[in-house]
Symmetry: C2
Subunit: 588 residues, 2 copies
């Protein structure tokens, strides 16, 4: 029994901090009313009338009529998607009102295992952001089809789940669950035994398949692409995480389940999933999603519930976070605007002011990193242009090739048969047809694999681009018009310990180092955003029209997204889950 | 991972039971739509379209358009208030649609300790009712002022809380919590450590006091007497248990917080607290409360949420019970009427049909009881009329006496100074002034105490009434006009091992045995209800106008309800928490 807290709540001892003269947003009663919030240590002790809590040494913040609301909670996010160190990530999301995230860091895990995730979580403790851990359930994603650094077998998962900050098993993929995957089954049993939640990734699941996932104990899903999906999930008793993120903006469509179909919003929250650096800087985080929600016709307090209380409830954490109430963690925002003009200016996290007038009081500065997070890019040998050549047993003529071409608006590839020239026994790219070389180079020092294929949709007229972010195995993926530029790009990335790069005609046009795990930068968000914009500008100058070319590039190696992929092991037919030869037929 | 369940949900194996052609009440989406429910074993596997689940051996129930809803959950009830064995209690509440209760059995505990509660819970497992255990936090209630049988110190409480069916610490009384009671503090710490909820009893708490209780971690309250209280609790983040029970009907007033003030109902549920036999038989249980709620202006599905999902959420049990969804326990009702005509006709509990067309399929029959539950009434010696006399050191004259008089409509006593005759050195009752003898006789064989006082409000013109139900110590309380009738009443109760009795002029007019702990009958509900009506008829014939005289009588010994009480230790000034002499002054 916390007597200190009770004494402060009673007014027997003065509060440490009191916000007065504000408009309290009460997510329980669903009201906004005049009042304040009093804090003792790291907890709220009173809400509403708090004058009695104020003593001589109480720090008083006059809210001057501003809204007082609970700090925002993101129930599903991959912090690596921002390519920031966890300190820089925390800094920027806090400035946008987020005080808690449930982080799935499977990318960190893919590169360097649980030890690396734990090192990042440890760095996270130095920030003002509360980070809960949702444990990746499936690393590597396609074990037979790619090489990865870390491995999450059921033992590792059990170890990870036993952490106090672990609140669930993450990304439980519907089809894997239904197929009776043994390792996944063990992981699920561990999670259940430990009372941790089962977080679902259930795209297009409905009817019997959805029922089976729910019967297995999955309690949430964030793969709802539209209104019908949303309705299905709410009705099935799944907590619906409406996703509004850089890679997928499903919020407006999902919200129609509430605004048009009249469903109860009580089991819906808003999550991000992926948050790219540029979006974090230019748009924001859950504050931006809240504006989007209100613009879509949700009333303001309901939208606030969806980024606070409802999110907390999905993890049974609602007695700790997600509301302004005595006993809760003192995560408090001061903000203005109950509509599309909503913006946060002050953020209190764990009872300490973290952001004031939009500025961090303890702004991010580069921190040191545990060794496990560094020097993770190891080529078995430097690559040479020849490594990227697809040789055929004829000197010239043509080859009928299975090309993979990406859609313009989303990195989903479809097959296209093209005829490419053979020259000196090597099948050549054809810029006219927009058929370029693409390859993925293994970078964990394990086997030196180079998987090769042909790629359409990027429209480069010259040069090469490469990235050590390559989902989900994070080997180096490289796309180019010439083998020499491709080799330069890959070797340079290895030299700088990972990053994203644009080269042309033997010169590096722009590089963005990502020395932490080959995934993350040490720069603050605003600087990294500027660097990335510069990087993309160069890619556009080389001919590509794709607005986010590196994001697209990083998804081409995803052996789970139809219809084709390239991994370090080769060209993948995703539907058949097999490595295939891109060369279909030769003609002289 | 439950593969059997998943297979049934997928339709790969047929369901055991399917309800078809109904109207599903979905407490998540807050809709009613055509569909059914399929069950495999003890769990729901599909809701809505369930045709695919039906196989050759599936038992199909055609709902014929009836409503299909989740079984009802009572989040706070004292089953002993019905004076039935747990088997008979389960039988009647099931027939009214209740499939789960959170039972606080502190009365059982007062009489014979944790061992007795555990024996009752064991009997409960033989029924179709799911009984969770909320552990009494304060037994005996007023240790210095009464004798009780069982003791719940912090060690007993810890032991009780560790049970798998224990879901919280119960009746945490606001003032005790705020006073820093040591034993209560230890109990709370145990509960928190074990992740069990803290159930509050916070009458009239508001502002700082409410904040302090919330800060201590109390998560619910059921002592909301009206609209303002309700608003206060919802806003403070407490789960509001709106009480509609035999002893207190606060539901209509509490509901105004929602219907008139527009507050969100998401953290409100409906509980019973006390359910008297006669009310259970004549009115019902949560089905009756649901009708009351709808009549008060709450929409039907919201009212259903308040007796299902919201109640489950208060205990973090919402992934197990409280909704129709795959994975949930198969507690399902078929009912008709989305308004005041609502009534249940079929009840499925844990996948088995328990009630059909309003009748139990496995009706209650008397069961045997563990020895700890029997032979609990032990007088140290037979009482004699002299035991009830209040002697004074003068033979005649008058005595100025502090009488306690009960209000007509609720057993709250106030003080009244009266002048009573002294005869043969004994202060005498005065029927004209409605000043009767009242006493409580210790019945655990520990000390033979007899506490004595004078009582107004019952208006008996003759005879005596006695009860071995006497809150909260359950010693035998006896009220009468003549010492001889009082002695007869008490001795007879001891002879039949507890009960309630009316005697007059040396004869027993009516007795209702309560041989289980001196609190509960072996009769089925309908029979006990008839017996009690007969008992009360006799009391009315003796002059009392109080509609429920035994209920009132049983509260006169509550040393916690103002302003006065009588326990086995004597006449109690409740405000001062002291034993006092009812005789104020003597005159010759």
């Amino acid at each position: 029994m916390d007597k200190t807290l009770m004494a402060a709540a009673l007014g027997a001892t003065p509060a440490d901090l009191a916000i007065t003269n504000g408009r309290v947003v009460n997510v329980y009663s669903k009201e906004i009313y005049p009042g304040g919030v009093a804090v003792s240590g790291t907890n709220i002790v009173a809400v509403g009338d708090v004058d009695y809590c104020i003593g001589e040494n109480t720090e008083v913040i006059n809210a001057q009529g501003r809204l007082i609301l609970p700090g925002f909670i993101d129930g599903h996010i991959h912090p690596e998607s921002a390519n920031l160190s966890i300190g820089a990530f925390a800094d920027i999301v806090l400035r946008h009102g987020t005080t808690t995230v449930m982080a799935d860091m499977h990318e960190v895990g893919v590169v360097a295992g649980l030890e690396a995730i734990e090192a990042v979580l440890e760095e996270g403790k130095q920030t003002d952001l509360k980070i809960y851990f949702v444990v990746p359930s499936h690393v590597p994603f396609s074990p037979g089809l790619e090489t990865s650094g870390g491995l999450f077998d059921s033992k590792t998962i059990e170890q990870a789940l036993s952490r106090e900050d672990a609140v669930g098993l993450s990304e439980i993929v519907g089809p894997y669950l239904l197929s009776g995957d043994e390792e996944l089954g063990k992981a699920i049993d561990s999670a259940k035994k430990m009372g941790k939640s089962l977080q679902g990734h259930l795209p297009e699941m409905k009817g019997p398949a959805m029922n089976a996932c729910m019967a297995a104990g999955v309690s949430t899903d964030h793969e709802s692409l539209g209104t019908e999906d949303a309705i299905e999930r709410i009705r099935a008793g799944a907590h619906l995480m409406m996703r509004e993120g850089s890679a997928a903006r499903n919020l407006s469509e999902c919200l129609k389940a509430i605004t048009e179909e009249g469903l109860d919003p009580g089991t819906s929250s808003i999550v991000t999933d992926d948050l790219h650096t540029i979006d974090a800087v230019d748009r924001g985080h859950l504050d931006d999603s809240l504006r989007t929600a209100v613009k879509s016709g949700i009333d303001f307090v309901t939208a606030v519930q969806m980024v606070t209380l409802n999110a907390a409830r999905a993890f049974n954490l609602d007695r700790e976070i997600g509301s302004l109430a005595p006993g809760r963690r003192a995560d408090i925002l001061l903000a203005e605007g109950t509509n599309e003009s909503f913006h946060v200016d002050t953020v209190i996290s764990d009872g300490r002011i973290a952001v004031k007038e939009g500025k961090s009081l303890r702004p991010y500065t580069k921190t040191s990193h545990a060794p496990v997070l560094l020097n993770t890019v190891k080529l078995q040998k430097e690559v040479v242009p020849e490594d990227f050549m697809i040789r055929v047993p004829q000197e010239s003529g043509t080859a009928r090739v299975q090309l993979m071409r990406t859609l313009d608006w989303i990195p989903i590839t479809y097959g296209e048969e093209v005829t490419l020239p053979v020259q000196d026994g090597v099948v050549r790219a054809d810029l006219e047809q927009d058929a370029l070389y693409i390859a993925q180079v293994e970078r964990y020092g394990k086997n030196g694999n180079v998987g090769k294929a042909f790629m359409g949709g990027f429209n480069l007229k010259s040069g090469a681009i490469a990235s050590s972010i390559g989902h989900d195995n994070h080997n180096i993926i490289v796309l180019g018009t010439h083998f020499e530029d491709m080799a330069l790009a890959v070797n340079r990335l290895a030299e700088i310990q990972g990053g994203q790069i644009v080269v042309d005609q033997g010169k590096v046009l722009k590089e963005v180092p990502l020395p932490i795990l080959g995934l993350l930068s040490d720069l603050p968000a605003e600087e990294l955003s500027a660097e990335k914009k510069e990087l993309v500008r160069h890619v556009h100058e080389l001919g590509s029209k794709i607005p986010i070319p590196f994001m697209f590039l990083s998804f081409i190696c995803l052996a789970a997204i139809p219809e084709y992929a390239v991994t370090d092991r080769g060209f993948i037919d995703v539907m058949k889950q097999k490595i295939i030869d891109p060369i279909l037929e030769l003609s002289s």
